[in-house]
Symmetry: C2
């Protein structure tokens, strides 16, 4: 598995079930969302703009993509059907066959640019580590069939072993039955 | 990481938050449970009885343990506080440093003996694959800190790519504050 083949397998529309676990309070969060992943060209103007907005990095940009999402969360008790949506541009910068950086125009946990480190494990799991201020998010994404991906994440304090929250998503490809 | 050190790290009492995803119906299940893992001796009479009840396997029995659990599920709408509990004996049979079998006196998905295959990946993830009739359960367990484990599972059809359900647990060690 290469970063390119992993992303080509990921392209398309997905329906995601996500469970969040707040460990200190033992609270569950449930979110159903739509995710759309589209591979972009390196010549795309938003891709060039993002690349030129960050300090120069060692490595080769490859397979940029757009991720758009649309979520319904149960988190806000006053507004159970609150919908949040957004999109961002992501650009892998390959530093070896299995390692590199992932530049993201907007982060998940905070609304700012992020530079993550990625690694492809030898069982084809894609891992991502991102620092946000005083915390670190560690994600794992793996395919359990061509049309089902799993994603787990852990948010921990940067200094040590404090685990703030975990989450898990099951993502099922939306098949185009008219295709 | 060896199977022995993985199990020694796992010994103790854990509080588990588990989310189940039923993919076809997009239903969430939430369960909070207590789990207690106790390492047993190979000379324990229940261990010997379990070993002699199965066909002879290639490999070396090591680090048998008891797992007891006590769960509260939200699954039954009529009885939201339904409690289910149980315990089983498990015996790893080591076939190489990273591979082997796990004999279990009672399975999770069905109430019968099970023989699983385990593997320790090079990032210290413990994986388990168990066949139950027409389905296969694949589990992954990994430590994200000395006192927090994550566990993901996938139940799929034995014949191919049909994914029946997924689940994810965050397990936090219950510390003995009296010391």
């Amino acid at each position: 598995m290469t970063i390119e083949s992993f992303l080509l397998k990921s392209e398309g529309e997905w329906k995601s079930m996500r469970s969040g676990h707040s460990l200190a309070f033992q609270q569950f969060e449930e979110v159903i969302s739509q995710i759309k992943i589209t591979i972009l060209k390196l010549t795309n103007s938003k891709v060039s703009a993002l690349l030129s907005s960050i300090p120069l990095q060692t490595g080769i940009p490859t397979t940029p993509f757009r991720m758009a999402w649309n979520a319904e969360s149960d988190w806000e008790p006053d507004d159970p059907n609150q919908v949040s949506s957004g999109e961002c541009i992501l650009i892998p910068i390959k530093q070896s066959e299995s390692n590199g950086l992932l530049i993201r125009s907007v982060g998940y946990a905070e609304s700012e640019q992020a530079i993550s480190k990625y690694k492809l494990l030898n069982d084809d799991t894609f891992t991502l580590s991102t620092e946000y201020g005083q915390s670190v998010a560690e994600e794992r994404i793996w395919f359990i069939s061509p049309n089902v991906r799993c994603r787990s994440s852990v948010l921990k304090t940067i200094s040590g072993n404090g685990i703030l929250q975990t989450s898990f998503s099951s993502e099922v490809r939306k098949l185009d039955l008219n295709g």
